[in-house]
Amino acid sequence: MLAYPLIAGLLFGLYFSLVGIGLNLVFGVMRIVNLAHGDFLMLGAFVGFGVFYLAGLDPLLAVPLAFAIFVLVGIFLYGILIPRLQQSVNPEMLSIILFFGLSQVIEAVMTIMFGTSERSIPSRELGSLISKIGKLLGASPEGGPVVILGQSFPAAWVISAITSVAAIFLVYVYLYRTRLGTLTRAVMSRRDEALATGINVDRVCAAAFGIGLALAAIAGVFAPFMFGSVTPAFGADATVTSFVIVVLGSLGNPLGTALGGVVYGVCYMLVQTYLSSWADLLPYVLLILILLLRPSGLLGRQVRVA
């Protein structure tokens, strides 16, 4: 049955696009490798746990909350970390090490606070608010799995995919339809010239950094539903996966990530279905091959080879 892995791959792929897009935005704008990216996903998942277990609300409500919190966290972290980093001889290289340190701190603090146990949320709870509103309006509630082309998929997968598409669309609107977004694109393409023309590069970068982390956090809200459970150590693997997605699309081109995510999602599901014992190898081999054969990614223009 090819339909199942293809559709599941597409749903996961759209979600993977959201997983990677923040990392790419940060790299594209600042040439900074956020090795703590996966840890912000993990933190987003914990916002979801808080909303569900402490407030008893639909985890979907954690999406706007996580976004707001992590935009602010991002702007704060930008202020204390990045200007100093940019003064060093080789910010791109040192950023890898710096953010590795940050990822260690986040993982350690979360382990100290919440332990190492695996946490999850029952799948049907995601979107419970929507079905309640639907019920109030008299529509028949659709709590169960969603049927697409004769195959049934968990509703949570579909909700994650739809939210991801919406978030990526909003990133597009931000980059192409707002003033700050236009300046962001200017900084992405020619940083030195943007500085010379008097653009407040720091403000543009702080915003991009905040949005980048916030996108990771909202992807994290869905992580328990997509991956089954989340622990404080979830971040490291999520970072590598994000890199694969981003590099597949094109490092430095946030919208290319959407394509990278879908390609990765479909490959992932196909290998899971037909070659499952080698599935763990896929992301790494894919990453290396893409970097070597097409370093600019599937959509990229500029080539980065020595």
């Binding site: 790299f27 040439r31 490798v33 970390l81 100093r84 980093l85 060093s88 001889v89 080789n90 791109e92 290289m93 040192l94 950023s95 890898i96 090490i97 710096l98 590795f100 340190g101 940050l102 990822s103 260690q104 701190v105 986040i106 993982e107 350690a108 603090v109 382990t111 100290i112 490291a236 590598v240 890199f243 694969v244 590099v247 490092l251 014992s277 080698w278 763990d280 190898l281 992301p283 790494y284 081999v285 990453l287 290396i288 970097l291 070597l292 370093p295 980065r304 080879v305 020595a306």
Partner: protein, 306 residues
């Protein structure tokens, strides 16, 4: 006295003598052995990162491959341990050759690809489908070769070789040429330097010592799992130790290992997450306040640091 002889006589020889004597007066031999291993790995990182600027985020790949090279020689060919260590080094070099195309990538791209490569090797070795060769995820137990004293001496010989390489690089026009390549590859080629060849030599030398180190590690511990010898901690520790002391010097990585691995052993084992927290903060502080390492405190004042 030429500086090459001075550095050998006053840095390399005393360090080796110290670690040759210490097992007689200090009982925790495993700790001493780990110190020697990290001295080798930190200097190996120094060769490739310090002198050529490639950040080997997946450096452990060579180490793990070396450990498995040793294990396979012993398990399948009943090889004596010293021969198996030599093969471990050659396995490191072979992996280095296989990954040589990664040298085409620059900056963060190389670091990420190298990380992915190490993870790919791990998942390859740990694959249950290869159980008959590598024992897959179930780990290796080597009975016939267990001899910690000999393995420790083997590690000292490899440390001597590694120090010899670094002393040579610090005192030769070959080492200067490598640094020239790191600073600007095209300028270096216009100084007559064969950039591709130089990089390759440094890369393989660095792979060789890590492969050897993996081999003696396997010899020393005799029982290990893929996750032990491919643990990302080896890469990260080696990089942070080298960076903390200061790369492209002989003394920097030594100072880094002695101080940081010393601290690690004072606070590390009882409460890992607190250690992780302190470690993360230390890394962040290092990048922000001392990006060129401890030796930069001296070089900034115009002092020469060997």
């Amino acid at each position: 006295m030429p500086s090459l002889a001075r550095h050998t006589l006053f840095i390399a020889v005393p360090l080796l003598a110290l670690f040759a004597i210490l097992p007689g007066v200090y009982n925790n031999h495993l700790l001493l052995f780990n110190f020697v291993i990290f001295l080798i790995l930190a200097q190996g990182v120094n060769i490739i990162y310090g002198f050529t600027g490639y950040l080997p985020f997946g450096y452990v790949g060579f180490f793990g491959a070396g450990a498995y090279g040793f294990a396979i020689m012993v398990m399948h060919f009943q090889s004596p341990a010293p021969l198996a260590v030599v093969v471990a080094g050659l396995v490191g070099v072979a992996l280095g050759l296989l990954l040589a195309p990664l040298l085409r990538l620059t900056g963060a791209y190389f670091a990420i690809a190298n990380l992915a490569a190490a993870l790919a090797v791990l998942h390859f070795v740990a694959n249950p489908a290869l159980e008959s060769i590598t024992k897959g995820p179930y780990g290796v137990a080597l009975n016939g070769t267990f001899n910690p004293t000999m393995a420790y001496n083997g590690a000292l010989i490899i440390l001597a070789l590694t120090l010899g390489i670094v002393v040579f690089l610090r005192n030769s026009s070959f080492g200067l040429a490598l640094q020239a390549v790191r600073e600007d590859a095209f300028s270096a080629s216009m100084a007559g330097v064969n950039v591709l060849k130089m990089r390759m030599i440094a890369w393989l030398a660095s792979a060789l010592v890590a492969g050897f180190a993996g081999g003696v590690f396997a010899w020393y511990v005799s029982v290990f799992y893929p996750d032990n010898v491919f643990s990302a901690d080896f890469s990260i520790f080696a990089i942070v130790f080298a960076l903390f002391g200061g790369v492209a010097t002989i003394t920097g990585p030594i100072v880094g290992v002695v101080i940081l691995y010393g601290i690690y052993n004072l606070i590390g084992f009882t409460t890992p997450q607190y250690f992780q927290l302190i470690y993360g903060l230390l890394i962040i502080g290092l990048v922000l306040f001392l990006p060129a390492g401890l030796v930069s405190l001296a070089t900034r004042r115009g002092w020469y640091v060997p």
